[in-house]
């Protein structure tokens, strides 16, 4: 079995798997990291978004080979309850979800946005999240939470 090497949440990793398999399948199946969610399998909903390099991509249509030697950040690498990412803190403060299934992908898209644009406008946040679907209608709270996190990060 060929092996693909990449950095997952800062940790160097060799994964023995068919390099054509999707990154999501490897994350959830082989690596047991279930924070990235399956939604559609076609890159249409954003529930499985991860950061590759500095961009949010859908892991379900990202083949494993394409992340070779790259940095991959999943929701598990974003923060923990002990050391939360400002976005995670802001999503709690704003109560920015209903069911929350889409939220890990949304946090990832937002994190990628804040890396390249630390002080986005509300319109820019909406654009950055436009490929993430939310069915419960929590959009406004999520946008508010991203803006709150950006402010907090700017103040630090």
């Amino acid at each position: 079995m060929p092996s693909v090497r990449f950095r997952l949440n800062g940790v160097e990793l060799d994964v023995d798997a068919d390099p054509d398999r999707s990154l999501l399948d490897i994350l959830r199946g082989q690596l047991g990291m279930t924070g990235s969610h399956f939604g559609c399998g076609a890159g249409e909903c954003g529930a499985c978004n991860v950061i590759v390099g500095d961009r949010a991509v859908s892991a379900c249509d990202t083949p494993l080979w394409s992340v070779a030697d790259k940095d991959v950040t999943t929701i598990e690498g974003l923060g923990t309850s002990e050391r939360p990412h400002p976005l995670q803190r802001a999503f709690i403060v704003e109560q920015a979800l209903q069911c929350g299934y889409c939220v890990s992908g949304i946090l990832i898209s937002a994190a990628a946005l804040l890396k390249r644009n630390p002080s986005p406008t509300s319109r820019e946040v909406k654009q950055a999240l436009d490929r993430n679907l939310c069915r419960c209608g929590s959009h406004h709270r999520m946008v508010r939470a991203v803006l709150r996190a950006a402010e907090e990060m700017a103040a630090q």
């Binding site: 399956f38 929701i75 709690i92 299934y101 709270r141």
Partner: protein
């Protein structure tokens, strides 16, 4: 002679408590300073678990952090039927409030005896019971001595509103941290020891039968554990999820199917619905004391398409057999109801089946949650006692799950010479809106229709008006028209599978009624808000309309390309009051810029939770109105992905403002479905205000607007 005053009716237990009277089934104190509360309702993203925890903590006088909410399971929980219809606060909330009030009283009584003080001298603070002379004990100290294995009694009085400390406040939801930190809270993320993965093969053409199945391709896939076939039901079990996917692909290649059933013509749904055999029910009738004189009659027809639940997560379940007993993990809205149907299909006593709830994504009604549970149970039979996890595909979720029923609605009004309404007639054609499991002598689960010895396909029915109705939900006007007749024509055939979608028929009926009223007001040259207020006597109804209008500065000055519209309903005519004002922009392509809503749910247990529900409902309704319809040709559902079934995106979401009218002394009702009807009507009415055309067929798309313009010109 003085008549004796009639005796007051004997006090009654809240319905859920009457059905499950044992107090210990609702709450238990543990010696570690915690209380476990076990509602029969489940979290579906609506925040119910937090609201119920608030109610319990408040009534018991304990800190919210001491409350542990247990997940519903047929092994232990009270049976509260299904988590639907915005009834959880009403049913579970009232039951818990009553149960906790009674438990509090029992502990106080016990403490009084133990401490040797009068019960009235005792006080409870965060579970510590104290009295004069510094005597003290606590729930937890007494927990071993006080048995709650006793039935609740009627006549217990919970705290008055002014003495409640927690309810009425926006506390943070207890499930959100897990979701933000991606802890394994969703059923999709659970990993059981020895877990295998299953996938089920389903036909592309609706209701096609599996004629032949070549299994060799699937057998060759690494990790395959079993291929299961029973009639037209077929599936694979594999050691890995990836292996299950590959085996399913191979199995699909080896499958031959019959032609399947013919679907209706999507382009002319109203004609189809009205031509089908149906069962007529007169929903309501009101006769005028002195009928007015009819000068003319106006008739309008409205339609709404089939709408998909379109949960972001494909449905998922796990099952594990042990001999003739099976344990099922599910995100079903009703663990007992699912168990009842599983028992029918498996021909097993219900006691052999344990159904345990785990959270899924928002479902918005009866989606494939129950179907996939039976799939898992059937596949797990071949797994030698190992648990099998089954997850549907996006395509399956969008085509094989039940849909919200399409509706054709005709309203006809007789008007007098002044254009005032003399008589009102409302007719609804469509399939029933409910085919949930656990309610009939036959099962409602998809795989049950596919077995070699199949159960007949269930045809959806409508709940009676007393339970809120189905297709007829919200069809009886709240307005004081002198007379009316409301009829429902429920189809007795069902080529496209329907079941409960958020609001059942209320969205369609409110759209029709409120659009029609708007048209009548416009014809009279009367302001639509004033017109509605003139026909409403219920002060709570008038208040939400006035509040929304004031907040939206009704009616803003005319600007080209901008329109404003209003919509109102009281959900089910017994639930939450909601008024919406929409501001839209555009010509042929419209966007909703802003929605302003006012809502009255009585006592709002968690006001931010109410706002979250109303705001979410308003945005979802906007999505339904602007974008959503299930697409199909004559053989199959074709809207099986997010491209063919688009929903509203971040860049398209309107601004939403919500005002909650707090009424702490009025029993609380749910908020989850109150906004959909009013928002739908408000958008349609705003389109008329902007463009001068009435779009009477949902969704309001570019094509529909152009068609309406052509009709007008």
């Amino acid at each position: 002679m003085n008549q004796p005053a009639p005796a007051p009716p004997p006090p009654k237990l809240p319905v859920s408590l009457a059905a499950n009277p044992k107090l210990s089934s609702w709450l238990k104190f543990s010696s570690d300073g915690l209380v476990t509360v076990s509602p029969g309702k489940v979290e579906i993203g609506q925040g119910i678990v937090t609201a119920l925890a608030q109610i319990a903590a408040d009534e018991l006088d304990i800190d919210l952090s001491r409350v542990q909410m247990s997940r519903a399971s047929t092994a232990a929980s009270p049976n509260e039927g299904v988590t639907s219809g915005s009834l959880s606060i009403q049913q579970s909330g009232r039951a818990l409030r009553h149960a906790c009030a009674e438990v509090r009283g029992i502990f106080l009584q016990h403490a009084a005896e133990r401490l040797g003080v009068e019960i009235d001298a005792l006080d409870i603070e965060d579970g510590t019971i104290s009295g004069p002379g510094n005597v003290r004990t606590s729930y937890w100290e007494l927990a071993d001595e006080v048995s709650l294995d006793r039935d609740a009694t009627a006549g217990v009085t919970p705290k008055i509103a002014a003495r409640r400390a927690l309810t009425g406040n926006s506390v943070q939801r207890i499930d959100i941290p897990d979701k933000v930190f991606a802890r394994r809270r969703f059923i999709h993320d659970q990993v059981l020891a020895g877990m295998l993965h299953g996938r089920v093969l389903r036909p592309e053409h609706t209701r096609a039968k599996l004629i032949a199945l070549k299994e060799d391709g699937a057998r060759a896939v690494a990790g395959l554990v079993a291929i299961v076939r029973d009639g037209s039901f077929a599936g694979v079990v594999s050691a890995t999820e990836h292996g299950a996917e590959l085996a399913l692909q191979a199995l699909r290649k080896g499958a031959s199917w019959s032609a399947g059933d013919m679907l209706p013509d999507e382009a002319d749904l109203a004609s189809f619905l009205k031509a089908q055999p149906s069962e007529l029910t007169v929903i309501d009738q009101k006769t005028a004391a002195s009928p007015g004189k009819t000068a003319r009659t106006i008739r309008r027809q409205y339609t709404r398409p089939y709408i998909a639940h379109a949960s972001i997560a494909p449905s998922c379940a796990m099952a594990r057999w042990n001999g003739d007993r099976v344990h099922v993990w599910t995100h079903s809205q009703g663990v007992y109801l699912l168990r009842a149907d599983l028992a029918l299909v498996l021909k097993l006593p219900a006691e052999n089946i344990t159904v345990e709830h785990l959270e899924g994504a928002g479902c918005y009604g009866h989606n494939a949650a129950d179907d996939v549970a039976l799939d898992a149970v059937l596949l797990a039979k071949a797994a030698g006692g190992r648990p099998v996890r089954v997850q549907w595909s996006r395509q399956g979720e969008m085509s094989d799950a039940p849909f919200g029923a399409a509706m054709a609605i005709e309203i006809e009004a007789d008007l007098d010479a002044q254009g005032e309404i003399v008589d009102w007639r409302h007719d609804i054609w469509g399939n029933g809106h409910v085919a949930r499991p656990g309610r009939a002598a036959l099962p409602a689960l998809l795989a049950g229709f596919e077995l070699a010895e199949p159960f007949p396909r269930m045809v959806s029915t409508n709940p009676p008006q007393a339970n809120g109705g189905g297709g007829d939900r919200n069809s009886v006007p709240l307005y004081d028209f002198p007379s009316w007749r409301i009829e429902s024509h429920r189809l007795t055939t069902m080529p496209i599978r329907t079941s409960a979608l958020r609001t059942l028929g209320a969205q369609g009926n409110v759209f029709a009624i409120e659009s029609f009223l708007d048209e009548l007001a416009a014809e009279r040259g009367e302001d639509p808000v004033a017109f509605r207020l003139r026909h409403l006597r219920d002060e709570r109804a008038r208040d939400v309309i006035r509040a929304a209008a004031a907040r939206a500065r009704w009616k803003p000055a005319r600007q080209p390309g901008i329109g404003h519209g209003v919509g109102f309903a009281r959900y089910k005519n017994t639930g939450a009051y909601c008024a919406a004002i929409a501001e839209i922009e555009g010509a042929e392509d419209i966007s909703v810029r802003k929605l302003t809503l006012a809502v009255d749910v009585g006592e709002a247990i968690n006001p931010d939770g109410v706002i979250n529900q109303i705001e979410g409902g308003a945005i979802q309704a906007t999505s339904w109105v602007l974008k959503e319809r299930v697409r199909f040709d004559r053989q199959r559902i074709t809207s099986t992905d997010w491209t063919e079934y688009p929903i509203l995106r971040f860049s398209e979401v309107p601004d939403v403002e919500v005002e909650v009218i707090q009424r702490p002394d009025i029993d609380p009702v749910g908020a989850g479905e109150a906004a959909h009807g009013p928002v739908t009507a408000a958008i349609a009415n705003a389109v008329f205000d902007a463009l001068g055309v009435r779009v009477r067929h949902l969704p309001i798309t570019r094509d529909r607007i152009i068609a309406a313009m052509e009709l007008t010109s």
